[in-house]
Point group: C2
Chain length 888, copies 2
């Protein structure tokens, strides 16, 4: 026979059925209450109804599973005995609070109902016991309105309005001036409201109240807000919520009573100091409501020294027990401390790091645990200049927080203008409907970028993140009139040259200047990152196209360049002309002539980048985008180009037309260009190896890796590899210098992953281009997905945006196949990733798990990747240890 | 010790080292000579140098492998003994022919050299032996010119010109009037030409001649033409070529000599009759050169009855032995028959079928063998109206043979005009730069389509093949001036209304009318297809969007519709307006209003198609293309639409702009539309089930299968499936009719294949959309690939166009994964294919091998698919049998 399921977990005074590690079953709150009780910390008696009971409630079409109600009543009896009170007893009534509590803290869940058990009879007992009629009726009217709104679904405003009306009628301003009699009157008014609104009578029977309260908590699990929150936070609906029923203690029984919240350390800086707030003579909801200004926790020391001493002892005990900074709630009733809640406290990134490092120094946790304590994403906060949190400012519009940090500058509307003003050392913000590769120069010159269109993965967003530059994307509220050189937001007009500020971490566009503060890398940060570097197996490289990016990334600890895009260099003012000549060339000879002009410039680029990266490897990707990206499209630009090139506008138009592609993403780009126009790749490889040889002659160590993009068939690679080898050889012979190098490929097409065994016979390294791999695996254009992808994520069709975190079951499976097959023919194949995902923690962990050698990400994400890589390694170690344990 | 390799295989008079099944080693020709010798058929003595020797020759940098030359000389000695002649003997010289012979017949290979062994001395021996000076010197001058051109690389024209000059100088018109003396004179003139052109002396030593001849055959394996041919026909260069050295016999020794070629059955009709041509007193090259008109083979019967009798006996013996129709070459020297070659004869599709069926009836082969004898692709010839092969016509341009068949009609330049003229029962040819989905109506109305741009897989090509309509695509030579309503080809101008004809099987565009002949399905064809249907396991369905297509496909044996695209219906004149209203709608309510207008039309479509397909399953795919495809793009069209819809051109432009996509292939289409605008799919499903219920009420059996396109994540499918089920249920309740149906999905994205286990939990069937799967797996847009894909295939970067035949190692692997994973969660999952590949034989075989249930292809390819499916099943059976044999 199956043992009867245990649905109710009792706790009181050191006796408890539950434990702190039973969060799945008891919810976070219930587990905390049980654990505190186990630790001998004073917690009012109570019991928790399990999440399993909740799930069965829904499985049974909202009927309680067998035994639940009976067990709850038994537990209630034990609470009665512990409190020496009786639930529903008119003379000596036990009151309870009813609160929801899921495994994770969920703001969408049910509000607390306090003082449950009150009715017209028991209130008299409360008066007798407290000797305070006003307090008792205040508790009663609070209960009726809470129950009415939270449990019975009446709009809370109805009660508030009746309350205000009463005050107006009596000419009373302050709530505390309402007498017990008036409050009693309000109780019956509130009950009438409930009857009118719901057609149901307010339940006088405390057991009915209890049952309805439990039902309400259960039901709130499928409330609209809860559903939305779960979707947003990937919480499965199968978790269910627990219900906590706890004997009431009162912080509002006089000046030796009160209620408070505290953090065991400073949640903003992480400093080791007890940090909290307290209200005398108040109930929990008063602290949260913010009607009265709470005192600093230290106020307790003087006025209730014994309780304060108890509190200090409790928080220290708890922190030592939980080994983390905690967020606690407590009530003091007539000088006696009762703990109501404990949980791990939320904190800023800076605080998180300091706390973790301090806890290691205090020998409370080890380094591995410290590493796991930090959310790598949070580090972003620490790396960009930020808006002074103490400043006040005028937010005129909010877009997507596309690239964090802050920026201040004068509004410009074209990339050209941005560059010109930057040359005059003016700080500018580039405001565009959307950006294109031609805007690169201007984006680089600007302090920050705002676009009216485009999402988190739009060109502007991606490039800005790559540059570590602040960007607000898709700010639909602004409407740009480029001709009039202004933009509008509602009635407001902002002209070119006016100053605005951006907060790329929140998406805010701000009129005028705001003060910025430069983040500092704290000692704790450096220490933690040092531990991270010791723990991780994955190398961390950066995606950098310029010596400047390379320098920034080195500062953040990058161990090489995983992706240096050669095409961004093509857009610079002095070379785009030669590039266009090359594209307009009709013959190979003409093309070679134009390429000869580009060669020395590319060489200089490579010398600069190799120089910055010292002896770290630099992976240079040969030309990738389709050629039409380098030609202007608008009439004006075409006319300009026509003038400067001495070619008719018609010819240019014809060329544009002939280069037009229906699906450029799937078009004539990547190595396909190298097959059609080998002379382009030849020039690039020549430039790389001339740079390499020149540096090498100066005694500098250089580690070049030539990367061929968009390979789908091994024949593409073998053909281009032969060209590269031949070209490199010729340069090295000419310089009389032998330098070792490798040639590898991007794996960014599903086919490449599927035939990776063949490709690895030619490729000396792989780099997963997960941006394109995601686009092709999903058949989803990043540029076009904005129209439906956000909707997909909102509606839960996709669990997350696959351009943000690697879709492990689809794209990730392709990667696994690629790794496995690649190493089947070349066992020591070096494999990395250079898509946007290389700096996203869950993706970094995935890369670790499938055995990649390195990740590469934009400079500002390098620390994030370092930490995420360390966490992945630590987690794996722990898993292995646990497996081993189980094995024995 | 390793046994010495055998490089030389001798054959003569029943004694032979080789066999007919040694084609790999001896080449086709050598194996045939060996086999005929084994059968006791008279073949002149000779020997074959193996393909292995050729390969080693190249491995050893053009040096003979050890022992080759010695073995060749030993074999030559045996030939001398058999012929009672001596190579290089001035009195009694042996002459030989030297010919290349690879495993497969290769037109790019070396020409024959006859009469090798002649020089100024041996020619005297030949004169003595033949008693014919003229014959001898004629043989000598032929040999010198052949050797000079074929072996020594002199332009053959040089010899021809010298020959003509001599004739002019002597005032002689006919070759046969040249005396022996003059011919001797020509021999020394030819030798001088060789010396002048090559700087080398003509080798008088017969052994030098032999060695150079063998070298020349080997070298021809890497000749330019051979390389090109190998690439085009996927022949690996590792095969190498064999060299055949055979004692000369002479058909030009008088009127009791001669030479001929024959087929054992009629190669054009397949009729069982000996079919050949013969020239008295001639050498082989005379037959091929076509200078003298050969006689029908029957001429032999009277003039050389004994040789003729021998020939009949030989051909019958050979046909019985090879069990196939053969192509033979022979020479009769002074009344004695010598066979020089035998191989399986080339034949038309009609002949192939008739021969195969006849051979079964004659109990020479079994049905399985008969099925394997037919190249399925060839069937195409039999299904379309064809240009009368006997007609003469004026080809003005040649494009790609995009869709076979023939068509005649008046030139029109717009789809609209095509439709208008078709309504007046005029036959038209639609000539466009390229076609778009809006042209569908016009394409349907036209007899045939010509496009100036686009490849074999362009819109025009694909749609035309789907319609079974003749199409010439990418005809770059024509330049269209739509405004002037004419096109130009060079100097020629063709105006609208002029008649042209198309040959879609050759790509020819013809000025004026040509006569067409309608193909007939012969009795043999029907018989063969019957056997095919009994053998195959794969079902064969068709892709059909209209009742007309469905009817045609049923006629060709389709067993259901595998893909009915609902969007093609949207383009028809009467409904495109409602579709556009739907697209322009700003609210769901407006959209629903427009959809209500489309509903009854879609229902009628479905009633028509279900009606045609009787009780066969019909798979209807819900709307797939992005909405912008339904809006006009040009200013003129926009103005028209603006007028008819009462919406300003600006609004329409704005809508176009807002719907514009960078990569429409990867954009807002397929089920993504169904997620964003569920009301569209709802309408379509309603239309399907109203049609189903109405037919069902009339007692007709209907098997509807609803197919959701472009699913990448199971959530997309589950969401839309729920909508479909709900909608279908509502209709069935309304009609009080319960009909069974299934809901499935396309697998056309790599991700879908990779997570097929999840998708199969929702999908009741899969249909591989290999067009899109190829595009996404390769990252290759079919619309844009034209700029480089042909080049890729030419250069051998890709072995074949992956849009023609399934790329088995990449796309195919995805399919395998999809099948395996799909059936892991739904073991009886029905799986088909509905991409263009469903009618391509190697792809059909692949589908069979990976366990698909059906293929679906355009109506005109149904018989091809039926045969290919049968061949796949037969081959599998044979393989299994052979494996079993090996196992024992």
């Amino acid at each position: 026979m199956k043992a009867k399921k245990k649905y109710v977990y009792y706790f009181s005074d050191g006796r408890t059925d539950g434990r702190g590690d039973m969060k799945d079953l008891l919810g976070g709150k219930g587990a905390g209450l049980a654990e505190m009780t186990r630790l001998g910390i004073p917690v009012p008696p109570g019991f928790t109804i399990t999440t399993e009971a909740c799930i069965e409630f829904f499985n049974k079409k909202k009927h309680y599973p067998k035994g639940l109600w009976e067990d709850a009543l038994t537990a209630l009896k034990r609470v009665e005995r512990a409190m020496k009170l009786k639930f529903g007893d008119p003379k000596n009534p036990l009151l309870v609070s009813v609160r929801s509590g899921a495994k994770a803290s969920m703001p969408g869940m049910m509000d607390t109902v306090l003082n449950l058990g009150l009715n017209d009879e028991t209130v008299l007992g409360l008066i007798k016991k407290s000797g305070n009629e006003r307090f008792s009726y205040d508790a009663y009217r609070r209960f009726v309105s809470m129950f009415g709104s939270v449990v019975m679904g009446v709009d809370r405003l109805k009660f508030d309005r009746a309350f205000e009306e009463k005050k107006v009628a009596l000419g009373i301003h302050s709530d505390t001036d309402l007498s017990g009699e008036v409050l009693r009157d309000l109780v019956s008014i509130f009950k009438k409201i409930i009857l009118n609104e719901t057609g149901e009578v307010f339940p006088e029977d405390p057991f009915d109240q209890l049952r309805l309260g439990i039902d309400a908590v259960f039901d709130s699990w499928f409330g609209k807000r809860a559903i939305t929150y779960r979707k947003l936070n990937n919480i499965p609906e199968t978790w269910g919520t627990a219900v906590n029923i706890v004997a009431m203690v009162y912080g509002n029984l006089g000046e030796d009573s009160g209620t408070g919240v505290a953090f065991t350390r400073d949640p903003s800086t992480g400093k080791k100091r007890f940090f909290g707030e307290f209200l005398f003579n108040a109930q929990g909801e008063d602290v949260v409501a913010g009607i009265r200004t709470p005192l600093r926790i230290e106020a307790l020391r003087k006025r209730l020294p014994s309780a304060y001493k108890d509190l200090l002892a409790v928080y220290k005990k708890l922190e030592r027990h939980y080994k983390d900074m905690l967020d606690i709630e407590f009530t003091i009733q007539e000088g006696t401390l009762y703990m109501l809640q404990t949980r791990v406290g939320k904190r800023t990134a800076a605080a998180a790091i300091r706390i973790a490092v301090d806890l290691v120094n205090e020998r409370i946790i080890n380094r591995q645990t410290a590493l796991l304590r930090i959310d790598p994403q949070q580090l972003d906060q620490l790396l960009h200049p930020m808006i002074d949190p103490n400043a006040t400012f005028n937010v005129i519009a909010t877009g997507l927080p596309a690239s964090p940090g802050a920026a201040i500058g004068k509004v410009v509307f074209t990339a050209e203008e941005a560059e010109q003003m930057a040359e005059r050392h003016e700080k500018v913000i580039l405001v565009r409907a959307e950006t294109s590769p031609e805007d690169i120069g201007g984006m680089d010159a600007a302090q920050g970028i705002v676009t009216a269109r485009g999402g988190m993965t739009s060109h502007a967003a991606v490039v800005a993140r790559g540059m570590g530059k602040c960007c607000v994307a898709g700010c639909g509220a602004i409407s740009i009139d480029e001709d009039a050189r202004l933009f509008r937001v509602g009635d407001l007009t902002v002209k070119a040259g006016e100053e605005i500020s951006l907060n790329g971490s929140t998406g805010e566009v701000i009129l005028g200047r705001v003060d910025l503060v430069q983040p500092e890398m704290s000692a704790s940060f450096k220490k933690l990152m040092g531990w991270a570097d010791q723990s991780r197996k994955l190398k961390v490289r950066t995606n950098a196209d310029t010596p400047r990016d390379a320098r920034v990334a080195r500062g953040f600890g990058a161990e090489g360049i995983g992706l240096c895009r050669t095409e961004h260099m093509f857009f610079e003012a002095d070379r785009i002309k030669a590039v266009r000549e090359m594209i307009l060339a009709d013959t190979e000879a003409e093309r070679r002539k134009a390429l000869l002009k580009i060669l020395p410039m590319q060489k200089e680029d490579f010398i600069g980048i190799f120089g910055e990266m010292k002896a770290f490897p630099v992976t240079i990707r040969l030309l990738d985008p389709p050629l039409h990206e380098f030609l202007p499209q608008t009439d004006g630009e075409l006319a300009d180009l026509s003038g400067s090139m001495g070619v008719s506008v018609e010819v240019l138009r014809e060329k544009n037309k002939s280069l037009h592609e229906f699906n450029p993403m799937l078009g004539h780009r990547g190595c396909r260009l190298g097959i059609t126009y080998p002379e382009i790749y030849e020039m690039q490889v020549q430039a790389i190896f001339e740079a390499v040889c020149e540096l090498s002659k100066k005694g500098k160590k250089v580690v070049p890796e030539v990367m061929i993009p968009l390979v789908g068939h091994v024949n593409e690679l073998s053909r281009i590899k032969a060209l590269c080898v031949q070209t490199a050889k010729a340069v090295m012979v000419r310089y009389k210098k032998k330098v070792s190098y490798t040639i590898g490929t991007m794996i960014e097409l599903p086919r490449a992953a599927l035939v990776a065994d063949q490709i690895a016979e030619e490729a000396e390294f792989f780099s997963f281009g997960t941006n394109d791999l995601t686009q092709t695996a999903f058949g989803l254009s990043r540029d076009d997905a904005g129209r439906f992808l956000p909707d997909y994520v909102d509606k839960g069709v996709l669990p997350q945006d696959p351009f943000v975190a690697i879709d492990q079951e689809g794209v990730g499976l392709l990667m696994q196949i690629g790794v496995e097959k690649g190493r089947s023919t070349r066992p020591r194949l070096k494999i990395g990733i250079c898509g946007e995902h290389g700096g996203e923690p869950s993706s970094v962990e995935f890369c670790h798990r499938i055995g990649l050698n390195y990740v590469s990400c934009s400079p500002y994400r390098v620390p994030i990747a370092r930490l995420a890589a360390a966490q992945a390694a630590v987690r794996e170690k722990i898993e292995k240890r646990e497996k081993k344990k189980k094995g024995h």
